[in-house]
């Protein structure tokens, strides 16, 4: 990629500044209505604009509010999902009595990896997801998994294949 010229960069800055000025408080108000928490709303609004700033050509955005609410909604769902997963994870390690708590950095890395795998496995049924995780993370045999989930060994094999295919998919 060639670096943008000065006038291009100035124009881009101008477009983004206008977008920010015209729509930031609108988006924030909408998010606040849904979230009833100012700080969450402000964070999601900020993240939404961070994604817009990262877009290659903001000047081409025709319906800024539609785009912003689409990104905002996606971030909202992602945040809820992350909170669900984090809660389940912390509960699991608390129950299993880990000798030492992970450091914040370690915790963050695990959460990132969990979110990545969660995204990859998004299209799988809950049984397929469970079979894949029992097999690939916990190392259980298909016979054990089949008994646990109440399905046939062949079905477990198919589930694991589905999970492996999902993990192989190239990022969209």
């Amino acid at each position: 990629m060639t670096p943008p010229t000065s006038s291009h960069a100035l124009q881009r800055n101008d477009v983004l500044r206008r977008l920010f000025g015209e729509h930031h408080s609108w988006l924030l108000d909408r998010l606040r209505l849904r979230l009833r928490c100012r700080d969450d709303a402000a964070d999601i609004a900020a993240e939404t604009f961070a994604q817009v700033v990262a877009m290659p050509d903001p000047a081409a955005i025709r319906e800024p509010r539609a785009l912003l609410s689409t990104i905002g909604k996606r971030l909202l769902y992602a945040r809820w999902r992350r909170a669900d997963i984090e809660r389940a994870y912390l509960q699991a390690i608390a129950e299993q009595g880990e000798a030492t708590a992970p450091s914040p950095q370690e915790h963050w890395l695990v959460m990132e990896a969990l979110m990545e795998v969660d995204r990859l496995l998004d299209g799988l049924s809950s049984k397929a997801r469970a079979a894949f995780l029992y097999s690939q993370l916990d190392g259980l045999t298909y016979a054990t998994i089949a008994a646990e989930l109440g399905v046939s060994v062949t079905r477990v094999h198919q589930y694991v294949v589905q999970g492996l295919k999902a993990c192989y998919q190239v990022d969209p």
Binding site: R38, E98, A101, E112
Partner: protein, 312 residues
Amino acid sequence: MSDLPPAVTEAIEWYAQRTSGHFDESAQRALEAWLAADVSHRQAWVALQQRLARTLGPLAERQGTTQALRASHGRRHLLRGALGLGALAVGTQLLTVPGAPLHARWGADLRTASAQRKTFRLEDGSSLLLNAESSADIDVHATARRVSLLRGALMATVQQDLARPFVLACPWGESRLYGGACVLSMQARQPQLWALDGPLELQAPLQRTTLQAGQGVAFDGQLWQPIAPRHIDQRSWVRGLLEVHDQSLASVIEHLRPYHRGILQVAPEVAELRISGVFSLDDSRAALHALRDMLPLRITHYLGYWTRIEHA
């Protein structure tokens, strides 16, 4: 899901068989024969293992990950009230409880290094999140709770205790609260105070005022004034972001500095360029590149630790 190349589909089939728990020597020989039959087979096999190592590797041999990923998708509505600061507090609580309690460190300095945010849990149940390159003194005892910010910024999530006000102090004034959360920042030589959750009382040599949740004030050298729409939002660092409303480049760089390893130098001819946007603090290089995309800048790195920002 798009169609995978045949060699990849076969590799996945082999992989699934190998992890089934029943993979004997004859199966192993058959796999080796398949691998030897075509170069595309071996490539697909290696590619599959690499991808799995990248995605599942960080989670392997770690407890709790399967349970985490089996978390139901159907509980979203329950989370509405538990997001944000609440969720953050729960997370840090569980993380720090098994470690050494902080009451052993009363009066000690809390410090964070460059590019590091860190949560400290206090004996009274309150927690402090320190921004990068920040430090504070704490003094919690039976009748008072006091935290003095010495450098940088912090967010205090205060455990409600009507008998012991929680005082968060900086050289230009102190805020007093009995519960809730607030942010105090002394970055870029402009002190700011925000009430995040619940009201707080601000006491300064020349004034005394109450802030409601969501209100912020900045110190102008003499008085704490309500924060104007044009500002750098001192709360966004809590989430690793820098949110800027029509500010000078110099001031934006001032806020990136604690997250940048090495020296950041801004040439005078670009220091006053105005900018609005949201930048990631945890990746200061990406933030600099975003700035370069928005303004006519040339960014040069010398010797790996010296960065100069000039007019393009």
